[in-house]
């Protein structure tokens, strides 16, 4: 895991080295004198070779210091902390919703393979995968926010609202509905197909036949004996979801103006806010690795054949 | 007396067991543990044993499809583990192998003709024009029809695929063929076809076979001599009539008595072994069979019995004999 993290940090660093200009370009005040610039350069170690700069950067990152965002004029850590939780709420809601929808329809699809329901859900899943999120988001805004004004166009709360407690929660949920639909459509599709193929594999196994031969009810056979096995590969993808919970869905958030990490990253890209970009990407890479680790651990937990010794 | 074609001396093949994050070797599966024997020209040596006893690994290590851990294998007097890659390649056609699984042993994307002829082409054994004739000759000898060469493996049944596998080996005119459970995956009525085919081909071309199987009756039928393996080691090796009439090792005795015989009137005394086969990763000390042996003595758990000739080429590894 450590070598992978080092590799990741090197690549992130290299990408930003490749970008024209340096950290100073973003901070530059046109009126700044040449001397002050040189001083600042020295202060930021920009006059030194890349490898030394990398060393300083890593040292700071290890201390939790990702530098200062050009655009927000604040420490990167603080900026991330402000917005990342908004992404988290949206993604978590979508995650829970997707699991609740996708797993049952995956199971139904698999147990009635080649039935009308199966085709219906399969086509539905393919629509979910094929639909560009920005287009789907815009369509929803047009239909439900602009045309019939059922939901708000954008944002996370009604402007100027000072509601607290349940009222605040209700307001947030009201704003969340449309982005939630967009996000969930995509993830339901993937998860459902995964569950379906895993389930199809499992219901052909001998032990499912054994369970039937014992005289168990079909429901017990499917939801206890088969599903328990089919979910083993599925839980591992829950771990992979971890970075997704924090990275947010950039485009969906941007379209609905959801104040999460997605629009911030877009803003950072457009303003070439390199410290912020590096920070976000480093964090996501770290979360990805952590997610893999969690996946491994859950795998061992749900599958008695791979017990950690 | 025919000449010795293959000589195996103290062959060992250990597979490392890796564990942990750093994939350190934490132990070895002793798949083949000190096996020695000789094979004469035109002879069939049968190898029997239960799953995991290392009979297949022995066969594959002899052909250097796997690297050895220790010991040596002489084929026509040359130690095959000392050959260079090029020398090995040139000797390959002389020693062939027939596999157990008729499904995974043929490349699904090649026609039967290509499968059988490709080694001829690759080694340049015969000229391009002759390849087809040789393939047709081999295919007919194996009981298939000429038009089959343009078909693909998935169009054939298990028995026919096994014939294709035999033709692939046969076409190179080998001297020695390892038959690795060639009939285990086949139905009874097809098994006998393949066994007969192998016998006929041996008579015609004088091949030497190393015939690996877990089926004691098939091994007895086809072999001249039979070796019994248990947990990576040979425990007994003798002429087939001698071995089946007068088994010396308690394991051989138990194995023979466990084979069901299709005769309901026959009442035999059975030796039913207790317990399971121990793991080859952690074999018992001394004689590996002592944990299940009905006759075990103190010495059996302490000392490894020597594999020795007790007269007339009857080899056995047991303290009690």
């Amino acid at each position: 895991m450590i070598p992978v993290l080092i590799g990741v940090s090197i690549i992130i660093f290299l990408i930003f080295q490749a970008a024209p200009g340096d950290a100073l370009t973003g901070m530059m005040d046109p009126k700044m004198s040449y001397e002050t610039k040189q001083k600042l350069r020295k202060q930021l170690h920009l006059d030194e070779p890349g490898i030394i700069q990398y060393k300083y950067w890593v040292q700071n990152v290890l201390k939790g210091d990702f530098g200062e965002s050009f655009y927000f004029k604040q420490p990167v850590g603080k900026v991330m902390n402000t917005y990342i939780w908004n992404s988290f709420y949206l993604s978590l809601a979508s995650f829970i919703l997707s699991v609740l929808i996708a797993i049952p329809i995956g199971v139904i699809s698999a147990t009635r393979q080649y039935s009308f329901m199966d085709y219906f859900f399969t086509v539905f899943a393919l629509i979910g995968i094929s639909m560009p999120s920005f287009f789907f988001g815009l369509l929803l805004i047009k239909w439900f926010a602009v045309d019939i004004k059922l939901f708000p166009v954008s944002g996370m709360m009604t402007a100027g609202s000072t509601a607290v407690g349940f009222a605040k929660f209700k307001d947030v949920m009201y704003h969340m509905t449309l982005p939630l639909i967009v996000l969930t459509l995509g993830s339901v599709a993937g998860l459902m197909r995964y569950t379906r193929s895993s389930m199809l594999e499992v219901i052909r196994q001998d032990y499912v036949r054994t369970a039937r031969a014992k005289g168990l009810r079909e429901k017990v056979v499917i939801y206890k004996h088969a599903l328990r096995n089919a979910l083993i590969p599925v839980v591992t993808i829950f771990g992979m979801w971890l970075p997704g919970l924090f990275s947010g869905a950039m485009i969906t958030e941007a379209i609905f103006n959801w104040p999460g990490i997605g629009p911030i990253e877009l803003l950072a890209v457009n303003n070439r806010d390199y410290p912020l970009l590096m920070g976000i990407n480093m964090l996501l890479a770290f979360l990805t690795l952590l997610g893999n680790l969690i996946a491994d651990v859950t795998y061992a937990l749900v599958d008695p054949r791979i017990r950690l010794k | 007396m025919a000449e010795t074609l293959l000589k195996v001396e103290n062959l060992k093949k250990y597979f490392p067991i890796k564990a942990g994050v750093f994939q350190r070797t934490v132990g070895y599966v002793k798949a083949v543990d000190d096996v020695s024997f000789e094979l004469k020209e035109g002879e069939t040596l049968g190898f029997v044993g239960e799953s995991g006893c290392g009979k297949s690994t022995t066969g594959r290590t002899i052909l250097r499809l796997l690297d050895k851990t220790d010991g040596s294998v002489y084929f026509e007097g040359k130690d095959i583990f000392k050959l260079s890659r090029k020398e090995l390649r040139s000797i390959r056609p002389k020693m062939q192998i027939i596999f157990q699984d008729p499904y995974s042993s043929l490349n699904p994307r090649m026609t039967v003709g290509e499968i059988i002829g490709e080694a001829l082409v690759d080694h340049g054994i015969v000229s391009k024009g002759e390849v087809k004739d040789r393939v047709l000759e081999a295919i007919e000898m194996c009981g298939l029809a000429p038009y089959h060469i343009r078909r693909y493996p998935h169009e054939f049944s298990g028995g026919q695929r096994q014939r294709i596998g035999i033709a692939r080996a046969l076409v190179l005119n080998p001297k020695f063929i390892v038959c690795d459970e060639p009939v285990s995956a086949l139905d009874v009525s097809i098994q006998s076809q393949i066994v007969n085919l192998l016998c006929d081909l041996q008579q015609k071309f004088g091949f030497s076979y190393m015939f690996i199987s877990h089926d004691l009756s098939v091994v007895k039928h086809i072999s001249h001599r039979v070796g019994v393996m248990y947990l990576g080691s040979l425990v007994e090796l003798a002429d087939k009539h001698e071995l089946y009439k007068n088994p010396l090792h308690p394991y051989t005795k138990a194995l023979l008595s466990a084979v069901p015989i299709p005769d309901p009137t026959l009442k035999r005394e059975r030796i039913i072994l207790q317990g399971d086969i121990p793991s080859p990763a952690n074999p018992p000390s001394g004689c590996k069979f002592h944990t299940r042996c009905p006759y075990k003595k103190d010495i059996c758990s302490q000392e490894i019995p020597k594999f020795r000739d007790v007269g007339g080429g009857h080899f056995v590894a047991c303290h009690l004999v």
Partner: protein, 324 residues
């Protein structure tokens, strides 16, 4: 001995994309109480499908019981509702399968899987069922049964797993045990252990066994009565001594002669030529005629019926028409 189960003119077909496969084609057989019936045949002959049809364990689609009767305990199982069948499964009729490796659910303990069946059919509470499960494990000769009950299947060897499967099948004292190639995946010495155990249990409980196998040796040792199947049909049926002493159908004969026998020496095996016919493209007349050395004209035209030739010896072959 009364008849426990009788199958009459059973037809189980599979409807595939490529056509209809007549896996079981007009099969009749019966099992008496306390008897072991050996069903022999090569792969694809329909012996397993016949057995699975009894408990309606045929995957549907594509499989379907098209016609016939399966009378068990005076009731026709083909007409039974799912609920009725469920009450018979694992209770009055239980099954052990070929692969002990894959037949047990890997994520539940051995105990859980046995207890489940006991609780379901015997109205026992969990603690009592657990005790019973441990007793069953002891009965099938598993050492340290009180520990094994909490073990997962992967922690046991193949032989031990098959013992656990037998424990599970016998837990509700079934009247009929269907053993579908119970020892095929096991080594010879382990096979001997399991066969010994099954014989032992049968003597103790008087359970009837339907033993499905391709190994004539196993049949000779275990069965009282033998049914030989070929291409979805019963070709010969007799008691075990009769069938080995006096096999009549050319297929049975070929099967017996094509296998080398340990205590006999033969120069050359007598093999049945050709392959098992493609189930989608069965030959006209007797399904065996293309491989039969004694085939006559009538064999190519007409399907022989299973007729009684001698006392309790039935064979489906035109060669014996005169005798009838």
């Amino acid at each position: 001995m009364g008849e426990l189960l009788s199958i009459k003119n059973l037809k189980t077909y599979f409807y595939t994309e490529d056509g209809v496969i007549k896996a079981v084609d007009d099969v009749s057989l019966s099992i008496r109480e306390g008897e072991t019936l050996g069903v022999v045949g090569e792969s694809g002959c329909g012996k397993s499908i016949t057995a699975m049809s009894i408990l309606k364990l045929i995957p549907n689609p594509p499989g379907k019981i098209v016609d016939g009767e399966i009378i068990f305990d005076g009731k026709d199982l083909t007409k039974a509702t799912d609920e009725e069948i469920r009450k018979i499964r694992g209770n009055k009729i239980s099954v052990i399968f070929q692969e002990p490796m894959t037949s047990l659910n890997p994520v539940f303990t051995i105990g859980d899987q046995i207890i489940e069946a006991i609780v379901l059919h015997q109205n026992m509470n969990k603690e009592k069922a657990r005790e019973k499960a441990i007793d069953m494990l002891k009965l099938v000769g598993i050492p340290r049964a009180d520990e094994v009950v909490d073990a997962y299947p992967h922690e046991l060897s193949g032989g031990m797993r098959q013992r656990a499967m037998i424990a599970m099948a016998m837990a509700c004292n079934p009247k009929l045990l269907i053993a579908d190639e119970p020892t095929t995946a096991l080594d010879v010495t382990i096979q001997a252990q399991i066969l010994d155990l099954m014989r032992d249990l049968k003597n103790k409980t008087n359970t009837s066994i339907m033993l499905i196998t391709h190994d004539l040796g196993v049949v000779a040792e275990m069965a009282d009565h033998v049914v030989v199947m070929y291409a979805g049909k019963v070709v010969e049926e007799a008691n075990v001594y009769e069938i080995f002493k006096n096999p009549m159908h050319p297929y049975t004969l070929g099967l017996l002669e094509s296998k080398p026998i340990l205590n006999q020496d033969k120069d050359r095996l007598n093999s049945i030529p050709g392959q098992v016919p493609n189930p989608l493209n069965m030959p006209e007349g007797c399904y065996f005629h293309p491989r039969c050395s004694k085939a006559m004209d009538i064999c190519r035209r007409e399907q022989p019926e299973l007729c009684s030739v001698k006392d309790g010896h039935r064979v489906a072959c035109h060669l014996y028409r005169e005798v009838k």
